[in-house]
Subunit: 162 residues, 2 copies
Amino acid sequence: MQRKLPHSNLYLREEELRRGIELLYFAYRDFTRDPDNILADSSFGRAHHRVLYFVGRNPGTTVSGLLSLLRITKQSLSRVLGQLVEDGYVDQVSGVEDRRQRLLYLTDKGKAFEKELFETQRQRVAEAYKKAGPEAVAGFWEVLLNIVNEEEREAVLRQIEK
Amino acid sequence: MQRKLPHSNLYLREEELRRGIELLYFAYRDFTRDPDNILADSSFGRAHHRVLYFVGRNPGTTVSGLLSLLRITKQSLSRVLGQLVEDGYVDQVSGVEDRRQRLLYLTDKGKAFEKELFETQRQRVAEAYKKAGPEAVAGFWEVLLNIVNEEEREAVLRQIEK
DNA sequence: CGATATATGTCAGTGTTATTGACATAATAT
DNA sequence: ATATTATGTCAATAACACTGACATATATCG
């Protein structure tokens, strides 16, 4: 076991840990504000956005696929997904191999709305990337990935490397 | 205006922007899980945690100080803060200069609980920092700060450099 | 002094997102 | 034939947030 020298681990002091915690909180707060503002004019909320986003990124995903990705309950998803289907943002198609499954796809209307919501966050993140530069962005990804639960990292990697 | 060469801005493609968005979502999801699990056994929720955290970090802050930091409404804060005061986690002290103000402090009980909640996040973030190394951590901070609304960055800097 | 502004608190109503538990149906797998 | 899986649904509950309106105490300004 190697003894830790305080001066070589300055970035691991409580002060620096709290800095990460607080930045994560404030950044997430503002990051979710843009789409929330758009959603406020619709009958949808943040949960609908998440479903639109991940169905858009994973066309043909199933209900259980979404459940494990979002880690919410079936009952929560059911309400949100039902509204999106009813309002014509998401299509459900019976699976060909397994007809119990409902494969999920964005309709054109769904794609357009997802794009509108994404655009606000795209701009914010692109600005932040540009200001910070590619090396900082690489560090940003690396730390975030390590904050994810270890047993989920593989699933997240599969998602983000799509 | 400089023309952007595609190959020099690979990290600004939609794919990389979506990667940041998704990592932020997944990391935040897991990052809030630890304290949420502890809070589930208490009568408190995430909102109480936020108040405990920021009162702990800013002893003597006022109600309006918290309101602008957390950006929630007075009515929302009032309920949460009232419970924390009633249960002996937070002390309210009338201001000396301005007796309308209620200066907020954690009690010993409040400090102990905040520490318990912080500990779970501290470990997670410390692990992530260690794995990624100091340069990555610097990039992590920089990008997160740039994601924060521009007009709020100064306030966030004041907070995190405390 | 009187008017106005500020800091805080509170009441009533509403909405979103999530939870748990129980149960139902259809299709697949053993 | 039975068990399991994928999905859906009903009912009840809770945390967290909002808006709007109003109240009180204190401070500040003209």
